[in-house]
Amino acid sequence: MAALEALRSAARDPQPVARAAKVSGRKVLGYRCVFVPEEMMHAAGVTAFPIFGTPEAVSLADSYFQPNLCEFIRNIFDLALKGKLDYLDGLVLCNTCDAVRKLYDHWKSYIKTPFCHMINNPQKQFTEPAYEYQYRELAEFREALERLTGAAVTDDALQRSIKLHNETKSLLRKVYEFRKPDLPLLSGEEALEVVMGTMLLPKEEANAKLAQLIDELGTRGRSPLAPGPRIMITGSIIDNPTLIRMVEESGAMVVADDLCTATRYFWYPVKEDKDPLAALARHCTEKPVCACMHPAEARLEYMMDLVREYRVDGIIYFNLMYCDPFLYEGVLFKKKFEERGIPMIALETEHTPSGLGQLKTRVQAFLEML
């Protein structure tokens, strides 16, 4: 399982990947989140580097952010203050939650990377005004990248990048097929690291690894999991497998995940259209993968698709403490899923998982209930 190990180890330590990109002479732009089009950065010849947190406790950022603000964002800002993201030449964020928006302001004031760009995503999706607005925002982003590199981002290059990234998404879907059998051939913990590793690696390299992984899984034969209820994990960002491992150790098979570091990243391909900018704008305004977006119904339908496709018995909704969008959504969706016969439990977590005992009791009780 060499490809599996390679992807997992990339996920565990992003630093070597970033340093390698740096050595290649390309500019490295850190970005958050799945609404920032990687394709555009790839076409501009810069490295799109997803920023994840670490399990390390926050210290320096406490002087800027109150403890009742998003711990994930505090964690990222803390890493930046400590100089641990110093390989970044710039930052690209988009308009999802307040925490991400405010990270931008603080980053610009205190971290001072040479390049900072904010993409404004209209949050009311599936409308023409949203699409038109998004189109102009992406055109502006393209110009900003052109100023950064001094070279044009051509439609041709953009089309090639979209194709490459669509290939990544399609390969990840194929990898996820191995979660569908009665006894999945890929565990939830492995799946999370495979997607995170894919997000981090240059896509040319990731695609080769994913193709190899598909071969490996095809001959795996034995499930890494013991039989148990089929669980889907959703909620705020999870960038560390600890929680998923805990769920699987409690006797569940995690067979699906609606997470920024999982399905949200690859579920929707970009249309391969003759106007690539238009295709990207459509893509951004028509993927209902975040609790920040409107309307909630679209997101619910997408999640029900996952429930059906992966034959989910129950949903565990992990709310990062103080993550407002998901805290609001969790309460609403619990009712909606239960009306559809899918039990759901919402659990509050911290970004740096500690004191898992109480959480484990709740997870175990939920599994006993199914």
């Binding site: 005992g357 009791t361 009780a365 006993e368 209930m369």
Partner: protein, 267 residues
Amino acid sequence: MITAGVDVGSLSGKAVVLDDNRLVSWGLVPTGPDSAETAKEAMDIALQKGNLSLDRIEFVVSTGYGRVVVPFAQRNVTEISCHAKGANYFFPGARTILDMGGQDCKAIRCDANGKVVNFAMNDKCAAGAGRSMEVMADLLQIPLDEIGPRSLQLDQGEVAVSSTCTVFAKSEVLAHVRQGAPTNDILAGLCAALASRVYGLLRRVGIEPEFVISGGIGKNVGVVTRVEQKVGLEANICFEPQIVGAVGAAIFARDTLVKQKKPAAAR
């Protein structure tokens, strides 16, 4: 068929011995630093009272936060499932259970067989659970068992204790003391704050009769009365609400044993 259930909670350890469906005996001890030792102490008391020895017990299920360290248990089940099962044992009509324990509060909905269909628990903080009552009893120098009755004998009127955090609530209570508020009125405020907190939890799972309260705070008449008023239902409370989880564990032990004893063909 003799089985046992052991519930190692954050504040007390409970053990129950069951002979088929008959409750033989139980033991109740405060939880010490060593959970395995606490489990053993509670079990020894139960065995002694039932005139039994451990080798007579055919199957033991453990529960509670210390459930994984009980050395003589063959299986562990969470306290959520056990409280539902135990409540069903005492009150077969039970559909909504409120367990108020040492550091957790749970609102549980179950079916006619005592199987959990939904539940909600407090978050990490123990405010509103047994531990916060102990902190306040200590602060006001009142024996724990007097809090309930005295909270119902108002002097001038209930004072407001708004906080949902034990540490802050303690400062609030101190402020009331300094301003000369009568102790009973402060106790009333505390019980009311706890009742309103658990009511929110109950509403999350929905309330359906019959209503059962288990756990140590089930002995606090001040909290129970206020919860009943909010819920609009009378609470069923068994003679010893602290052993409900252990009883549930003993029933799980019995059920496991029955399943094991059934010949494979009959399964």
